[in-house]
Symmetry: C2
Subunit: 329 residues, 2 copies
């Protein structure tokens, strides 16, 4: 019998390779600023060869969320596939070291642990080129039903739709969660990701998702609208609870007819990597701790503000202490 978890996060287990570059570097390597683009091993090697010296840190969208929840003092679990190699050991160490339950078996055959080259431009925007590697091996048997059944919320990153076996694994997790009376949450991850899987995501939002996370670009892409307000109008009848982030404009939470808008937490922006992941961490920690929607949004904003104030997508400060100081939580 598993412990009770507030949130189980499922996603691509990735080690980030982070470097500062100028805009010309993105042009040379045909990167679309702000996007996550999947790359094969050859393209990955070509970009890396040309990259400035880098820093390696554990990342992965849902992994960052799990680490954020743990830093806030919440009980989190994580599922995602690494290879049994040096970077896989780094990923496993870093997520366990913050107190997240992580039991997915490392692959001993096939591709190495996933890496994402994160190029941070002078405007603090991040552009990601991800080699999925061992992540692509995640399949249904990696989903520990017992953990799913004992997690208040199972949170899934939209990036999982890029591989069929991953998608099937997380769809199964959603079913297990619902069969046990638990909630399912989805992050749309990236507007290009939404482009790739629009119909499936629209269907998911209507039929399987209890708590939706999206930023302005993603929700506009989902409904192919010109304005945020149009997208919100389209989304409203279909979703139980949605938290929509708008960068420096803060976030909007929607539940039935209730709408809560919260201002962004002021901070100097160094690197936007992980902003959405940490917003989800703060929000879900608040939600599973019984906080008001407004406080959930404030916790999300606070956690996001911390992570964009430094290089790297995981918190560098004790978020529980920060939340106590800033929000008296």
């Amino acid at each position: 019998m598993s412990d009770r978890f507030q949130v189980l996060c499922i996603g691509n287990a990735i080690v980030d390779i982070i470097a500062r570059v100028d805009d010309a570097f993105l042009d040379t390597h045909e990167r679309i600023k702000g996007s996550m683009m999947l790359v094969d091993a050859d393209t990955s090697a070509r970009i890396y060869d040309d990259m400035p010296p880098a820093v390696e840190r554990s990342g992965g969208s849902a992994g960052n969320t799990a680490a954020g929840i743990a830093s806030l003092g919440g009980k989190a679990a994580y599922m995602g596939k690494v290879h049994k190699d040096q970077l896989g050991a780094v990923f496993a160490h870093d997520i366990k070291a913050v107190g997240v339950h992580y039991g997915t078996e490392a692959a001993t055959e096939g591709a190495p642990t996933a890496t994402s080259m994160i190029l941070v431009t002078p405007d603090a925007e991040r552009t990601m080129s991800t080699y999925l590697g061992a992540c692509g091996e995640l399949c249904g048997s990696d989903i520990d039903d017992d953990v799913v059944a004992n997690a208040d919320v199972t949170y899934i990153e939209g990036y999982m739709w890029d591989r069929d076996n991953q998608k099937e694994a997380v769809l199964r997790a959603m079913d297990v969660a619902h069969a046990n009376g638990r909630l399912v949450s989805l992050s749309l991850s990236d507007s290009f990701c939404v482009d790739r899987f629009r119909d499936e995501f629209v269907d998911l939002v209507e039929n399987k998702v209890d708590i939706l996370f999206a930023n302005e670009d993603e929700i506009k892409s989902l409904y192919q609208t010109e304005t945020f307000e149009q997208a919100v109008d389209q989304l409203r009848p279909h979703v139980k609870l949605a938290a929509l982030t708008r960068s420096e404009k803060g976030s909007v939470v929607m539940q039935g007819d209730e709408m809560v808008a919260v201002a962004a937490h002021p901070t100097p922006v160094v690197d936007t990597t992980g902003a959405g992941d940490l917003y989800a961490a703060g929000f879900l920690f608040g939600y599973t701790s019984g906080k008001s929607l407004e406080m959930c949004a404030k916790l999300g904003g606070l956690a996001a503000a911390e992570v964009i104030s430094h290089l790297g997508a995981r918190p560098e400060t004790d978020l529980a202490a920060l939340a106590k100081k800033e929000l008296a939580v």
Copy 2:
């Protein structure tokens, strides 16, 4: 025929695993604050298991020096052994990416690439536990005589004395350098390292070293004196040129009867890792660029100040631009 290099640096090729810990962590794991202690694979795993989430960055004392010289706009080469694995690729990438010539072949058998767990305490002091791994495989055949012959200075870290085959390799490099009319430089690395090899280091300083780098603790340990001044008096008759660093007291350069004292470059101290390595980088870049001893010491102080102002032992800013701005070099 090799290009001409200002400085060839030879040392342990290491990837740093950096985390902030409190003093109690050092006590629990019986670490001596401020030291570099060698650990076997089991001890390394035991400390790592207990470590907070970490950041991985290329390091290694002489590697940091080479990267610093390159950042200052100097022409540097590096020799040091990695394994053909993920962290070895990280090390090779990072040193080449700053423009350092690095041609040492990666080992395909034996131990993995070296790692050093760098524990940074709230006082900004760093305590290192190093698993030497593939570094220990460096031997005479890894020394490219052509590169040594074409480097104005061959700079060697004292840490190389911990393995006999490494020591023999660098002693051979010293002989090749001198046979080609080049200079040999040595860093004493660490006062505990000096303790281990005092007699050999005293002999080296007298007979083989043209430019000596040491900090206050190291030079006091070398001559087993109580005060810095006593150590300087003992050293003076035996050394051609010595640059002695004294942390916040700056540095003292000694050449024959000439003594030059330079104040430390003021900076907030975040992590002292790499201070000595970057001082050597600035000094040797200045020296091989024909600068005065005072300017060499100032360049050393400036490079050291940059590296201790952030986490990690390699420069994060363009040192050439910094030197131009601060020292009009």
